[in-house]
C-alpha cells in the first residue's frame, strides 16, 4: 500500500465511521461527514456540467461554430439568459418561457415514455407468453409455461383492478367508502396478494444489497485497521 492509498484509506475509514454513526441517531459526526459529502458532490457536479454541457452545447458552437450554427444558438441562448435573469425577483416572470419549454418537452417524453416505453412493451410481453409454438418447443415444461402465462395474465388484471379508483355505490352513510365496485373488489383481492409478493421480493432485494454494502464497509474497515496495526 503506497502513501496515497493509505491516506485515502484512512479518510474512507473515518467517513465510514462518521456516516454509520447515524444508525445510533443524528449526531455531530454524521452532520459533518454529510456536509463534506454535499460540498464535494456539488463541486463535482458543477465542474461536470460546465465540461459536459455548458462547454460543448453552448460555448463551443458560439465560439468556433459556423455562422449558421451561431444563428441556431440564438434561441437556446435566449432561453438560458431568460432562465438566469428570472432568478432575480424583479424579472421572475421571464422564467415562464424557458420553464414552459422544459415542461412541454417533458410532457411529450412522459406521454411517449408511458405508452411506448412501459405500457405497450409490458402488455406485449404478457401476450407473448401465450405463444403456442413456444409451449410446443419445450414439451417437458409446457405445464409450467401455461401456468406461468395464466398466472401472469390473471395477476396483472388483479393488480389493475386493485387500483380501480371508482367507489361502490353506497346505500347508507356509514357504509365502507373504501370499497370498489364488487367485480373489481373481487379481482383486487387477487391483485393485493401479487402486490404484496412484489413488494416483499423488492424488500428482500434491497435488504440483501444494502446488507452487502454494510458488510463491505465493515470488512474494509477491519482490513485497513489490521493493515495499519499489523494484525492478521
Amino acid at each position: 500500500m503506497n502513501l496515497s492509498d493509505l491516506a485515502w484509506g484512512i479518510i474512507g475509514l473515518i467517513l465510514t465511521v462518521m456516516v454509520l454513526s447515524y444508525a445510533i441517531g443524528d449526531n455531530f459526526l454524521f452532520r459533518l461527514a454529510s456536509h463534506i459529502f454535499i460540498g464535494l458532490t456539488a463541486g463535482y457536479f458543477l465542474v461536470v456540467i460546465i465540461h459536459q454541457i455548458v462547454w460543448p452545447y453552448w460555448v463551443t458552437p458560439l465560439a468556433v461554430g459556423s455562422w449558421g450554427q451561431r444563428a441556431w444558438m440564438i434561441i437556446p441562448s435566449a432561453l438560458v439568459l431568460l432562465l438566469i435573469i428570472s432568478q432575480f425577483q424583479k424579472f421572475s416572470k421571464l422564467g415562464i418561457i424557458p420553464v414552459s419549454f422544459l415542461i412541454g418537452v417533458t410532457t411529450a417524453i412522459v406521454i411517449g415514455g408511458a405508452v411506448f416505453g412501459t405500457l405497450i412493451p409490458q402488455i406485449s410481453t404478457i401476450v407473448e407468453r401465450f405463444e403456442p409454438s413456444a409451449w410446443a418447443a419445450a414439451p417437458e415444461q409446457t405445464g409450467f409455461l401455461v401456468l406461468d402465462a395464466v398466472v401472469m395474465l390473471v395477476g396483472v388484471i388483479g393488480v389493475l383492478s386493485f387500483f380501480y379508483f371508482g367507489r361502490r355505490k353506497i346505500e347508507f352513510p356509514d357504509d365502507d367508502q373504501t370499497k370498489r365496485p364488487r367485480f373489481f373488489e373481487g379481482l383486487g383481492k387477487i391483485g393485493q396478494v401479487f402486490i404484496g409478493v412484489t413488494l416483499g421480493a423488492i424488500f428482500a432485494g434491497i435488504f440483501s444489497s444494502t446488507l452487502w454494502a454494510l458488510i463491505d464497509r465493515l470488512s474494509f474497515a477491519s482490513d485497513l485497521i489490521k493493515g495499519l496495526f499489523g494484525g492478521t
Binding site: D26, T41, I109, I123, F130, L153, F163, F165, T198
Partner: protein, 249 residues
C-alpha cells in the same frame, strides 16, 4: 395492426376522454372515487402541523426523469400548486425540496406564480421556499436528513421519485414524533416503507392524492379516464391473448 398503432389509439382515446369528461363534469354529475385512508391521514397531519405553527416540508423527488416511472416528476410538479393553498402561501409555513436542480428551478417558478404579484412583498416576509439540499440522489439524502434535523420539521410529505432512502426520512420523522406521508411512485421506496408505514399509498393510488386538496374536482376527468383506460387495457390484453391462442396474432 401493430402494437405501436395500439399505443397511438390509447393516446388518442385518452385525450378525447379527458376533454369530454372535462366538459361533462363542468355541468353535471361527478365521479365518486373511493376513500384512501392514507390521504385522510395526510389531511389531518397537515392541519395539525399548521395549527401548531410548525413548518411543513414537501419533497418533490430526487430526479425529474425516470425511465420506469415516466410521469412521477411531472406529477410531483402538478401537485405542488394544489398543495400551496392560501393558508400555506400566507403563512409561508412550508419548504419544498428536491434532489434535482431542474425540479428545484421549476418548483421555484411555480411558487412565484402562485404568489403572483404578492410575491415581491412576501419574499421579504416569510414565503414558501424551494431548496436543493444537494444535487444528486445520494447527497440529497444526506442533505434532507440534515434539513429535517436543523429545522425540526414535524410534517414531511414525499411525492415523485424517491428510492430506498425514504425509509431514513420516515424514521427521522418517527424519532421526532413528526408526521410522515409518502405518495412516492417508485416501487423501491414503497417496498422499503411498507413494513413501517401504515396506509402507505402504493402504486397507482398516488394519483388519488388530489383528493386531499381543494381543487380536487378538476381531477375527476382524470380519474374517470384512467378507470376507463384500465378496462380498455384489460380488454386489449384478453383479446390479444385469445387472438394469439387461435393463431391470428
Amino acid at each position: 395492426m401493430t402494437w405501436s398503432f395500439i399505443g397511438w389509439i390509447l393516446i388518442g382515446l385518452s385525450a378525447v376522454l379527458l376533454i369530454g369528461f372535462s366538459f361533462f363534469f363542468k355541468n353535471r354529475g361527478r365521479y365518486t372515487v373511493r376513500e384512501v385512508p392514507g390521504i385522510q391521514q395526510l389531511l389531518s397531519a397537515r392541519a395539525a402541523a399548521l395549527e401548531k405553527g410548525n413548518k411543513l416540508h414537501l419533497g418533490i423527488g430526487q430526479r425529474m426523469w425516470s425511465g420506469l416511472y415516466p410521469g412521477s416528476g411531472l406529477y410531483s410538479l402538478s401537485i405542488l400548486p394544489k398543495y400551496l393553498d392560501g393558508e400555506i402561501r400566507n403563512s409561508g409555513a412550508m419548504r419544498v425540496s428536491s434532489g434535482d436542480g431542474v425540479l428545484t428551478v421549476l418548483a421555484r417558478q411555480i411558487i412565484q406564480n402562485q404568489y403572483g404579484d404578492r410575491y415581491s412583498f412576501l419574499l421579504d416576509q416569510n414565503p414558501v421556499k424551494s431548496d436543493l439540499p444537494a444535487p444528486t440522489p445520494a447527497s440529497s439524502t444526506a442533505g434532507l436528513l440534515n434539513l429535517l434535523s436543523f429545522e425540526k420539521v414535524s410534517s414531511l410529505t414525499l411525492v415523485g421519485n424517491y428510492g430506498l432512502e425514504s425509509v431514513l426520512f420516515s424514521e427521522a420523522l418517527h424519532t421526532n414524533a413528526g408526521a410522515f406521508f409518502s405518495a412516492v411512485g417508485n416501487l423501491t421506496s414503497q417496498a422499503a416503507l411498507y413494513p413501517s408505514k401504515k396506509d402507505l399509498l402504493i402504486g397507482e393510488n398516488i394519483f388519488l392524492l388530489p383528493v386531499a386538496f381543494s381543487g380536487k374536482d378538476s381531477a375527476q376527468p382524470a380519474w374517470t379516464t384512467e378507470d376507463i383506460l384500465r378496462i380498455v387495457v384489460i380488454f386489449i390484453m384478453v383479446a390479444a391473448v385469445v387472438l394469439k391462442l387461435v393463431g391470428l396474432l
